[in-house]
Amino acid sequence: MMTQQIIVVKLGGTEGVDFSAICQDAAELLKSGQRLVFVHGGSAEANALGEALGTPPKFITSPSGYTSRYTDRKTLEVFLMAVNGKVNSLLTEQLHGLGINAFGLSGMDGKLMVATRKDAIQSVENGKRKMIRDDYTGKIETVNSELLLALLNMGFLPVIAPVAVSQNGEALNVDADRAAAMVAAALKAETLLLLTAVPGLMEKFPDESTLIRQIPQSKLVSALEMAQGRMKKKVLGAEEALQGGVGRVIIADGRVEKPISNAMSGNGTIIQ
């Protein structure tokens, strides 16, 4: 299996990440023979669509300190419209505009990503711990790497929306960073690149001068404790990717020129 040169790029869904610069950079890299897989987020689009449709997003924090989007059935439908519908389609369109034969799909298609639904999660509200049982989110268990390798071997650039299917056939919202990590692990990718709207993991967020340039895998536990908010799941994803056999993980700036090349030349937080 020829898998050494694959870079899995996760394009953050928060405002500021320059999809256009990433796509142009990808076009040049693909011409030079680099194999790429894109996984994207879409949180900002899902929030905006939810507001417009009268179902504003609600975020919950678990007792262990992780924040997530409360995804009841209605929110799931909004999430699918925004992330699978709009973000995936427009990203695929943008890539086609650059002459790249992009293949947009979600993790549900061909059971690309199968996840276990989290049917009993907890939130802390007003000091009370509560059980939430109507959440349509999941933890990815398997990735159909044969499907991705077939697409890559046919010359496509797979563009994956962070949606998975449960063992019972339900659509599930999955975390895009962890999805990218699972995809990278399944492909034994050389690099997992998490492009976001900050330069990497900072010791004292948001002071960018405290950027951490290198984290050895052995120090990931303390990095996980230090990471705040969304960064927590990136570090968790990094850990899962490395455990799954990915060569290295780079958390890097998606707002700069040539974001992929910039990160691959050593800018960002390199975890290995």
Binding site: R69, I121, K128, R129, K130, M131, I132, T137, K139
Partner: protein, 56 residues
């Protein structure tokens, strides 16, 4: 009375007046997490112990 018996250790627990369905309380005797299943009649069950307590 909103009094329940802990399914783990049989301790008698009186729910707070503002207890809600879905709320997780801790048994004061054995420390196990209990989920309030209903209020009328008051009923609790062992809360699921998930490896990950958060959504995605």
């Amino acid at each position: 009375m909103n009094t329940v018996s802990c399914p783990e250790c049989a301790a008698e627990i009186t729910l707070e007046a503002n207890a809600e369905v879905g709320e997780i309380i801790v048994c004061p005797d054995c420390g196990v997490d209990l989920e309030v299943i209903s209020l009328n009649p008051a009923e609790v069950d062992l809360a699921p112990m998930e490896q990950e307590d958060w959504g995605e």
